[in-house]
Amino acid sequence: MSALRFTKDHEWIRLDGSVATVGISDYAQEQLGDVVFVELPEIGRKVTAGGEAAVVESVKAASEVYAPVDGEVVAVNDKLGDDPALVNRAPTGEGWFMKLALADPKQLDGLMDEAAYLNYIAGLA
């Protein structure tokens, strides 16, 4: 799991070659509560770092999910349509949101590693 990088908005990203997988952190799913719906982007959409890429809804809240880095959406997790609770059960695993073909993998360097992120959320409480 050490390959995960995190944003201040609680997205994670994991790079495999030139394609990266994006989801929301365990902390984020816990804050949201039971996820009931995920609105995913269409394949081929260009997203920019910090721009809206998806929406995640729980019973009482809805949040934008922002793209951690620039890229193009090459895959989305269709399983979330039938089973949005995957986001709660396995936020950094089967509950992933989308895969991005990255414009510039170096952008990941600007994000937090897991230790830094855990430190960051500890400061939020």
Binding site: V36, E57, V59
Partner: protein, 507 residues
């Protein structure tokens, strides 16, 4: 359906009836309305006669009466008890108003009858407008908006029209952190971006932050006053001056006008525009979520942009201006927001309420509303936790600090209130305090009634603090249903009955 309740064969428990859906009890070929045979004619339907089956169930009149009577018994209502929903002003709904709204001369008139045949209706709208203008000290009022949020849309569109007319369009609307969600939603519908202004430590808008946020691109500041923390904005004159210095307009969400009516006129506070929820302040019934009515008072600068239709008076009596082209020179209506002329049925009720109270009674009503809220504050302050000091206006805000480490949340507490026979207060709103309890008793509650409520709240607070969380977590136990699974409802929405939803269970 899930019919088997504990211990009875029928599923009913005394006066608590389990009631199926009309689709489950209805039968084809039955009707509760007798209609004559249509005269024989060659149809002129152009071949479009309905072929698609209609699944409406057939029921007789006694079945329908019983069905809806049983459903009604599953509802809490003002008529049954205290309904202290903050910022909703659940006051008594006088029955005189219902009677008058049903007079054929009001209820059975068509909106497009010749105006010569509806002079009384137009006079009523004009009279209600006069009351609203007097009570707010504002020169104009747009009567057609259908509810508070619709009134906000009207007000912001008038502001936008006024600024666009000066060829000086602006793009930003400021709202406090504590604003009702309709405010930003409405601003977005008018093409504005929304910027939040924080509150200060006293629960009011941070004046310095407001001044910093105001600039040449600010169209308006939307304020609720008294605000959603139940507090009067004591720097409102300074806010108004800053807003007007920036060339912006001051919009007031009038949801909380019940604290001020008959005592303080919003026009004297520098407000340019305020919607009035007739279904709150002026007692038109809430009806389980409407219909409402949201007239918008307007300053002289905004009045020319009021939407059509509106009532005018000339030598021939009253008439309606129904299209922009019919507007007098110098007026530039922003368009039309609603079919026909507004919520006439609500106008009759609201005017009956105002005339019954009169100016003196409205002042007494707002005074009693504020007295009641402060009484609740005073009697609960030592058992619950106040984020901001009083006095409050017509509603009092507590947070959940007093529940810290009890294992009981605001939601649990609210559900326990249901078991005690009270409707819960507004909870988790405003968002600026943690686990909000927003309590608005209104002027309709007697001291005896409030004493029972206060004693109950104190007892619940003590029980929670004593570590007895179990009854809260299990609550409600004495309602027609216990806690419902909202996650399931949202994950796999079932929004209509289908025979296939409940195979084998339909009648």
């Amino acid at each position: 359906m899930t019919a088997t309740g504990p211990g009875t064969t029928s599923g009913h428990r005394g006066l608590l009836f389990e009631e199926p859906l009309i689709f489950e009890s209805g039968t084809e070929g039955r009707s509760g309305v007798d209609l004559p045979d249509p005269p024989a004619v060659a149809d002129r339907l152009g071949g479009l006669r309905r072929r698609t089956a209609l699944g409406w169930p057939g029921l007789s009149e006694p079945q329908v009466i019983r069905h809806f009577t049983r459903l009604s018994q599953k509802n809490y209502a003002i008529d049954a008890g205290l309904y202290p929903l903050g910022s909703c002003t659940m006051k008594h709904n006088p029955r005189l108003n219902e009677k008058l709204a049903r007079l054929p001369g009001f209820a059975d008139i068509h909106p497009l009858q010749p105006v010569s045949t509806v002079q009384g209706a137009l006079a009523l709208i004009d009279t209600l407008a006069r009351w609203l203008k007097a009570l707010t000290n504002m020169p104009a009022v747009a009567m057609s908006p259908a509810a508070g949020a619709h009134g906000e849309l009207c007000g912001l569109m008038a502001i936008r029209a006024a600024q666009d007319a000066r060829a000086a369009p602006r793009r930003k609307v400021l709202v406090p952190d504590s604003a009702h969600g309709t405010n930003p939603a409405t601003a977005a519908m008018c093409g504005y971006t929304v910027e939040a202004v924080p509150l200060n430590a006293r629960g009011r808008v941070d004046l310095a932050a407001l001044r910093r946020a105001l600039d040449g691109d600010t169209a308006a500041f939307m304020l609720t006053n008294p605000n959603t923390c139940g507090l009067f904005e004591d720097e409102i004159l300074e806010q108004a001056a800053a807003i007007h210095d920036a060339g912006a307009f001051f919009y007031c969400d009038g949801a909380n006008f019940n604290a001020l009516v008959g005592r303080v006129r919003p026009g004297d506070l520098g407000i340019d525009c305020m919607h009035i929820n007739l279904h709150k302040t002026f007692s038109t019934p809430h009806g389980g979520g409407g219909p409402g009515s949201g007239p918008v008072t307007l300053s002289a600068a905004l009045a020319p942009f009021a939407p059509v239709p509106y009532v005018v008076h000339d030598a021939n009596g009253f008439r309606l201006v129904e299209t922009a082209g019919d507007a007098a020179a110098g007026l530039a209506p922003l368009g039309r927001l609603k079919g026909f002329h507004g919520q006439m049925g609500m106008f009759v009720r609201a005017l009956a309420f105002m005339m019954s109270h009169g100016a003196d009674g409205l002042l007494q009503a707002s005074s009693d509303a504020v007295l009641n809220a402060n009484y609740v504050l005073a009697r609960l302050a030592d058992r619950m936790s106040l984020p901001y000091d009083g006095p409050c206006m017509h509603e009092v805000l507590f947070d959940d600090a007093f529940l810290k480490d009890t294992g009981v949340t605001t939601l649990d507490f609210a559900k326990a209130m249901i078991d005690e026979g009270f409707h819960p207060m507004t909870m988790y709103f405003p968002l600026v305090v943690h686990g909000a309890f927003l309590i608005e008793p209104t002027e309709s509650e007697s001291k005896e009634g409030l004493d029972v409520f206060v004693a109950t709240m104190r007892s619940l607070a003590e029980r929670a603090r004593s570590g007895d969380a179990a009854p809260f977590l299990a609550a409600p136990q004495f309602a027609p249903r216990r806690r419902l699974d909202e996650t399931r409802a949202a994950r796999q929405p079932v929004l209509r009955w289908r025979r296939s939803n409940h195979p084998g269970e339909a009648a």
